[in-house]
């Protein structure tokens, strides 16, 4: 797997735990959604852990755990399945402040969409990373100077810019 952050391929500091693996005492690790409740229960307040969730997850299922989570990874079962974008928005709306990660076969061209919806990092399989190198991801990030929507992260809003121009 390759991890993209701020337009660069970086080392992943997080480890995805297999379901049969015991919860470690230290380090950054990611559990599956069925193990989340247990993890929250047994891990101390200083543990650093995250969860990977399907894109059909109801945000309400995560609300109680949000303050404890340092990362939420949303699985994209197919790159054109846009449910994860809405889920990311809803988690940011619920004031999740940790790392939001999109995991799946996302293509570089979707990077601005992901950033706009509140994702920080993208995790893609190696074969995809081989075809779509860092340069393509960075280009995608810089493809547009501004966006028409308001209230989405990343690029500046055209509506805001127009408003400022009128008032200045």
């Amino acid at each position: 797997m390759a991890l993209i952050s701020d337009g660069r391929f970086i080392e992943d500091a997080w480890r995805r735990l297999a379901d049969e693996e015991a919860l470690p005492k230290t380090g950054k690790f990611i559990v599956s959604l069925p193990r989340l409740e247990h993890a929250v229960e047994v891990l101390g307040p200083t543990a650093t852990f995250g969860v990977i969730v399907p894109n059909t997850t109801e945000p309400s299922a995560l609300i109680a755990a949000l303050p404890r989570l340092d990362l939420i990874s949303i699985a994209f079962p197919a790159f054109a399945d846009g449910r994860g974008f809405s889920l990311a928005r809803l988690l940011r709306r619920a004031e999740f402040k940790g790392e939001l990660r999109a995991s799946g076969r996302l293509v570089a061209d979707q990077y601005p969409h992901a950033i706009g919806c509140g994702f920080d990092t993208i995790e893609i399989p190696d074969d995809l990373a081989d075809r779509q190198d860092e340069e393509q991801w960075r280009a995608a990030l810089n493809a547009y100077s501004m966006s028409y929507q308001r209230g989405y992260a990343g690029r500046g809003s055209i509506l805001e810019a127009r408003r400022k121009a009128v008032r200045s």
Partner: protein, 574 residues
């Protein structure tokens, strides 16, 4: 200074006809072209697989047809300038086969572009403030509107500022570009629906409440395709300041809960149908209530800025009727017929709305050659403030023509083969491209339209028949809107043969209804006979002032079914 004055001051020579890009719009569209150019390069280099490239080329209007790529250019809310029309003609000559096809959703399709040329075509479009963004793909499509916007006497408000507002909001939306399926929005501001809003994913009807405030009736879940549905009201009166937030709520509900397991059940109409409108309304209202609406806080200045572009052109003060027109009609019967059929009432005294039919007898519905496009551009400049419209009936509208100028305009159109006086008549047929172009088609559509058109080539007979919507689709995806044709024709394939199913009673307006099946399918050759017999039966049964659909509604489907049955007894193998 008003917004209009400001704009005139800034762009003294700009036509007053439609939205003009500012620096932000221009940058956005040009960045889109640059991005697509790179995407094409990356497809060719193998960085993108065809599967990965597909949604991005679709969102740039490039669609793979039966024989070649097709490029679908957006004509937002159907409005374009003479300069833009000329550019469409130039592109047809330079990169296509000298013609284009106007579609039912206010787009223009080029049927033969090469993949490697499309970035240049898009650049050429961007140069005249046009694009092909989101004319295909599982995203919010080109927003359409009443083609008589701003000139219809029955209008509460011009729907185009709303449509432009939504065009911008929906362009490359971070969250809603990978929806379960395509998503079409149409807007009307009139008492009579010419934008078919009840058969769109979202239909917006501009309404005024008791206190005189302008708002929107929001309809969701309409659509044609293989499962036709009439849209249902999800918001009875959504104030303008809440419109974007309300739409965002609908789209979020759809993006999360629309079906993705089966593409034929993925449209919002299926979600509405399966969950019921009450559950959908509750979900939308809950989402709307939970949203941070400050991000959507209505920006009246921005709305006014956009609305100013659609300010009325500088009309002259004229008498309500024209003596010149009256005299010319008496002198030239062909012109009189054109005026009676293709010319509509304008809200300003002394002006008229002219429909230029792209349905010549025996022609391909919606096709225009580059030469015809240039004639239309010239005509709009000479007679109509340089403004043109595209209707969802696949015709071109000149929205502000002085009645005094009608004869000169008609003469110019007639010389270019553009004066067919059949707007709204039986030969003004909506047709999809069908098996001649489309890889989804199961039967031919265009030749059927041509055969019906030829059968009714006697124009006086057409006028006697009156308003009659014939709509033809070459497969169940229903791009030819057959479900809402008073006479609908659906081309299917049965045991290797084309078979045409006829439906009656469809209506795309506020009195919307889906057509009912007449009987077993008929062959391509029989279609004109069946249509003719149905029309003759209507003529025999109709009462004073009744259109075909009125008679059908009054006497009932069963009586018309007998026509087809008798047809079968005449020896036809139906």
């Amino acid at each position: 200074m008003t917004a209009v004055d400001l704009r005139v001051a800034q762009r003294p020579n700009a036509p007053m006809t439609t939205y003009r890009y500012d620096e932000y719009d221009a940058a956005f569209v040009s960045e889109r072209v640059a991005e697509f150019r790179e995407q094409v390069n990356r497809r060719l280099s193998g960085a993108l697989t065809e599967e990965e490239f597909r949604p991005f080329r679709l969102m740039n209007g490039l669609y793979l047809q039966l024989h070649a790529y097709m490029l679908r250019v957006a004509i937002p809310y159907g409005t374009l300038t003479a300069r833009q029309m000329r550019r469409l003609a130039d592109i047809a000559d330079k990169w296509d086969k000298g013609y284009g096809h106007f579609t039912t959703r206010q787009n223009l399709q080029y049927n033969w572009p090469k993949l490697v040329d499309t970035p240049d075509i898009l650049e050429s479009l961007a140069d005249v403030e046009m694009h092909a963004i989101q004319t295909s793909g599982n995203c919010i499509r080109n927003v359409t509107a009443d083609h008589f916007a701003g000139v219809a006497p029955d209008e509460i408000e011009d729907p185009r500022p709303t449509a432009e507002f939504l065009r911008q909001w929906s362009s490359l939306h971070s969250e809603f570009s990978f929806l379960p399926r395509k998503f079409k929005i149409a807007v009307t501001g009139a008492a009579h629906d010419r934008a078919a809003i009840l058969v769109h994913d979202i239909g917006l009807r501009i309404v005024k409440n008791d206190t005189g405030e302008i708002g929107y009736q929001v309809v969701v879940g309409g659509g044609l395709g293989r499962s036709p549905f009439i849209g249902k009201v999800v918001g009875d009166f959504v104030p303008r300041e809440d419109l974007l937030a309300f739409l965002e709520a609908i789209l979020r509900v759809y993006n999360r809960f629309g079906r993705r397991d089966n593409k034929y059940k993925a449209r919002v109409k299926i979600l509405v149908h399966e969950k019921g409108i009450d559950e959908i309304r509750a979900a939308v209202e809950a989402e709307f209530a939970a949203m941070d609406r400050s991000a959507f806080a209505h920006d009246p200045e921005e709305f006014e800025r956009i609305a100013a572009f659609f300010a009325p052109p500088p009309y002259e003060s004229l008498p309500a009727t024209s003596a010149l027109l009256r005299a010319a009609k008496l002198e030239t019967p062909a012109f009189a017929n054109f005026v009676d059929v293709n010319v509509g009432a304008h809200k300003i005294p002394g002006y008229a709305i002219v429909t230029v039919s792209l349905k010549p007898i025996g022609g391909v519905p919606g096709d225009a050659t580059s030469a015809q496009m240039r004639v239309l551009a010239d005509a709009s400049e000479r007679f109509g403030f340089g403004e043109l419209r595209v209707s969802h009936e696949q015709n071109i509208i000149l929205p502000h023509v002085k009645q005094d100028d009608l004869f000169a305009l008609w003469s110019m159109l007639d010389a270019a083969g553009l004066a067919t006086a059949n707007a709204g008549l039986v030969s003004d047929i909506i047709s999809c491209p069908g098996l001649d172009y489309c890889s989804l088609a199961t039967a031919r559509s265009i030749p059927i339209a041509q055969a019906i058109s030829k059968r009714f080539s006697d124009m006086s007979r057409q006028r006697r028949i009156g308003k009659l919507g014939v709509k033809i689709s070459g497969c169940i995806n229903a791009c030819g809107h057959h479900h809402v044709g008073a006479i609908g024709i659906l081309g299917l394939e049965k045991k290797g043969q084309e078979s045409y199913q006829i439906t009656l009673g469809g209506d795309p307006t506020f009195s919307a209804s889906i057509g009912e099946i007449l009987g077993p399918g008929v062959t391509a050759e029989q279609v004109p006979d069946v249509v003719e017999h149905l029309v003759d039966y209507y003529l025999a049964e109709r009462e004073e002032g009744e259109a075909f659909i009125d008679t059908w509604r009054r006497i009932g489907h069963a009586r018309f079914k007998d026509v087809l049955r008798r047809e079968g007894e005449d020896g036809a193998d139906i």
